[in-house]
């Protein structure tokens, strides 16, 4: 390992040697080796499915490697369960938090700790230690708050505190910033630096190269289950890391022409959406999208963007407001029907691909006609026209570069990016006049992201009105001609696409007047 030379005197805090892991036919880790020096922040980058999370879950004992060795401080240890890992001082903050939402912060802290069978003394000890740790690392939290009531940022602090309370000296964080606002991310990084200053070794899994450059000392790149490079962060740059991740040159900017907006294609006025629990998720929202422009909706996940998109797509009834589109008006009394809206030229690429976009167990060819199965082109009297659909699917797979180009493969057998290409092919090939897109590149690898972004821009240039909802600021800034920011169901600001910068948007997203995190759900 190149970085091992820098700290030749001490054995690395973690050393993985020849880790190999298969899940059925998927070879998730191929003889991966890695060394992380004690007291450093080490980044692991790679596309989705490159095997980063699998590797770290093996280190944390959640999965067991088929072959290979784990060494901590130079000593080989057996990690058969998270219990073994925790005993060796290794702990992990998972991408999906491992918290019991009905429990208080303290109860979550105590959950994994050994001790007497009575709870009260354990809670007392945990409270004292929690306050000490919170003070030392800047992790303020109310010990008695119920976790389910906390916003995402504080929840993540609970996860970190949980690890520290269990005595972690090696902390793995899996995509910790994917749910945070820029301000919360900055705060997290301050905590990581404080941890490093006190000798904790941090391993950070991310796909955001900017964060790697900002916070890590060393970085490793994974591609298709294998470790392809180790670098000292100061001696590398984003372009070369991106190239290592994908295995070819990736242009990091898009070649985007100025928009030529036409007539209003979608007009929303006074729209409100209330969820099952009676909480107002979208609050009096109004905007217009013109033909030939992309309007982006930015915001921290859970601030009403999903509900807004669902309402516009006719999937969610709304008690107030009106939506005008292609000569029709949707009102609470006359809600839109998703099928009817489609025939009028509204296409929808839903946020939750596997939940709303495709049926995972269906083969690709069935998903490519999902929702359009009544189209005469796919029909033969009463039966469906299989040869025609298969040919249609093959053509779309070729045009949208879906791999493998096998119409018979079950859809969940495709990678996230290729599933998304199937959905996009289905929706865009109808030449819609209005396109609603939610999180188009969530769980999609860099190569496919580039393709999807280019496709969306091409739709815009062809005169389609595009409404783009994304929690990825970089994506919004790269694509949108106008950016609306949502906070707690309201649109709290509009920024022109070419003048937008992360700082301004970040402040709007956090509704800065209310401070960090307090207001978000």
């Amino acid at each position: 390992m190149s970085q091992a030379a820098d700290v030749a005197l001490l054995p690395p805090a973690i050393e993985l040697v020849g880790i190999d892991k298969r899940f059925g036919a998927v070879h998730a880790n191929r003889a991966v080796s890695l060394a992380v020096a004690a007291g450093t922040i080490h980044g692991i980058v790679g596309e989705n499915g490159a095997g980063k999370s699998t590797l770290m879950n093996i280190l944390h004992g959640f999965y067991q490697a088929d072959a290979g060795e784990i060494r901590v401080d130079g000593t080989a240890i057996a990690v058969r369960s998270p219990e073994d890992a925790i005993r060796a001082g290794i702990d992990m903050v998972h991408q999906h938090f491992m918290l019991v939402s009905t429990f208080t912060v303290l109860e979550n802290l105590v959950l994994g700790v050994k001790g007497g069978w009575r709870l009260a003394p354990a809670l007392g000890r945990a409270r004292r230690e929690l306050l000490r740790l919170a003070d030392e690392f800047g992790l303020e939290i109310d010990p008695d708050a119920v976790v389910g009531d906390l916003p995402v940022g504080p929840r993540q602090r609970v996860e970190i505190l949980k690890a520290l309370y269990r005595g972690a000296r090696i902390l793995i964080l899996d995509e910790p910033t994917s749910v945070l606002t820029p301000a919360e991310t900055a705060r997290l990084f301050a905590v990581l630096r404080a941890l490093k200053a006190r000798g904790v070794t941090v391993v950070l899994i991310t796909h955001k190269l900017r964060e790697i450059m900002e916070i890590t000392d060393t970085v490793s790149v994974m591609r298709q289950g294998a470790m392809v490079a180790h670098r000292v962060t100061a001696e590398t740059d984003r372009e070369s890391l991106a190239e290592l991740m994908v295995g070819r040159k990736v242009p990091l900017g898009l070649d985007k022409q100025a928009a030529r907006p036409g007539d209003v294609a979608l007009a929303v006025r006074g729209l409100s959406v209330v969820d099952d629990l009676g909480v107002t998720r979208v609050d009096d929202v109004g905007f217009e999208v013109r033909a030939g422009e992309i309007v982006g909706i930015a915001g921290v996940s859970g601030n009403g963007q999903s509900e807004l998109l669902a309402a516009l797509a006719g999937m969610e009834p709304f008690p107030q407001g009106e939506v005008r589109f292609a000569g029709t008006v949707m009102t609470p009394a006359l809600p839109g029907d998703p099928g009817d809206l489609r025939t009028r030229g509204l296409a929808h690429v839903p946020e939750d691909r596997l939940g709303d976009g495709v049926v995972g167990a269906f083969p690709a060819w069935e998903n490519v006609i999902l929702g359009y199965h009544d189209d005469p082109a796919y029909r033969r009297v009463v039966l469906i026209d299989r040869p025609a659909i298969l040919a249609d699917c093959a053509a779309k797979m070729a045009k949208y570069d879906v791999r493998p180009a096998d119409p018979h493969l079950a859809t969940h057998g495709f990678s996230g990016g290729n599933q998304q290409k199937l959905v996009i092919a289905r929706e865009l090939e109808r030449a819609p006049s209005v396109l609603l897109v939610g999180q188009p590149t969530r769980g999609v690898d860099i190569g496919a992201i580039e393709f999807i972004h280019k496709t969306l821009l091409a739709m815009r240039d062809a005169g389609c009105a595009v409404l783009l909802v994304s929690v990825e600021l970089e994506e919004i800034m790269a694509l949108a001609d106008r950016i609306l920011v949502m906070f707690e169901g309201r649109i709290v600001g509009e920024v022109a696409g070419e003048t937008a910068d992360e700082r301004t948007l970040g402040l709007l997203m956090a509704n800065a007047a209310e401070g960090d995190g307090d207001g978000s759900r």
Partner: protein, 324 residues
């Protein structure tokens, strides 16, 4: 006045007797379901345990050996349920129904084979049953108005298992909310992944939960055949396992409200018995069938109409499989 008072006290007394198996089963279901395992099989476990208790008490001549057999039967059936749905990730509802059907048939088959009395077990003598315990001072207080009657009829004079059921409620509450085991048990029903990544075995926790449930359901079964009655009769549980399950859900998976629901259902049952053949003013005599259906009808009405939003443990019914 005195007569009405005595009638009321006797009805409450009957409530307690009817509610005892419900309380034990509701606590059993509560422990199992808080750990994330649906326990439809309460009915079958109770039935199997009732048969085991009566059969073994008859053969051994001791109600205590019968109780032990009942508890072991409950625990064994729990292990079957657990093996299917914890170890092999089977459907918890299907596995539970399987236990119920199995016990409904097996008890009768074994009963015919062993005792040749049409599926019943031979009647137990007084010495082979749990007898009412008379509390000290019952006779001395006999003449004290109100208090004497309350003490004699309501507090004193029940068999041991009734008191066990009543004691089970605070015990379960304390275990769930005041011990580390209880914290983990509740956590595993909400988010088993969090428990797993904390280095605690999800399967072992859930096995312990279903074993405890089997134990309590076993006591309930022993109560039916060796305390409340003096023999096992085919299908003698008569849906009480399901009613207990309903009471537990009505109590929103919490011990004390579940106790309340069990007492309510028990009271309706006791009331139904009292109302048989009684002419109500303005209504006249109510047909027996209607009275007997009343507790079940009210169960449905209460569950459907007055329950409010019940929030079940989040991971209930979902086998824990490490995600990939």
């Amino acid at each position: 006045m005195d007569e009405h008072f005595l009638l009321a006290v006797l009805t409450l007394d009957a409530t307690l007797r009817v509610a005892t198996p419900l309380i034990l089963c509701a606590m059993a279901g509560l422990i199992s379901e808080r750990s994330g395992i649906i326990d439809i099989s309460l009915e079958g476990k109770m039935l199997g345990a009732a048969f085991a208790a009566a059969a073994v008490a008859h053969v051994s001549g001791s109600e205590w050996v019968g109780l032990l057999a009942a508890v072991l039967t409950g625990a064994m059936l729990s292990l079957v349920h657990g093996f299917a749905c914890i170890t092999h990730n089977g459907s918890q509802v299907v596995s539970g129904v399987a236990v119920n059907i199995l016990m409904s048939g097996l008890t009768v088959t074994l009963g015919i084979a062993w005792f040749a009395q049409g599926g019943q077990t031979p009647g137990l003598g007084e010495a082979e049953r749990f007898r009412p315990l008379l509390w000290p001072g019952t006779e001395a207080l006999r003449e004290v108005p109100v208090l004497g009657t309350l003490y004699r009829e309501l507090l004193s004079g029940h068999n041991l298992l009734v008191y066990v059921a009543l004691a089970a409620v605070p015990l379960v509450w304390w275990g769930l909310y005041r011990t580390r085991f209880g914290l983990r048990l509740r956590a595993v029903g909400e988010n088993p992944e969090a428990v797993d990544t904390a280095g605690i075995s999800v399967a072992w926790l859930r096995y312990r939960a279903v074993l405890l449930a089997g134990l309590l359901a076993g006591i309930a079964g022993a109560y039916l055949s060796t305390a409340q009655n003096g023999a096992f009769v085919r299908d003698m549980t008569a849906g009480q396992g399901y009613i207990a399950l309903a009471a537990m859900i009505f109590g929103k998976w919490r011990p004390v409200p579940a106790l309340g629901a069990c007492l309510l259902f028990g009271f309706l049952d006791a009331l139904a018995v009292r109302l048989q053949g009684v002419a109500l003013p303005g209504v006249g005599e109510i047909p027996v069938q209607f009275i007997q259906a009343l507790p079940y009808v009210l169960t449905v009405v209460l569950l459907a109409g007055f329950m409010g939003r019940a929030v079940a443990p989040k991971a209930i019914g979902i086998p824990y499989v490490k995600e990939r």
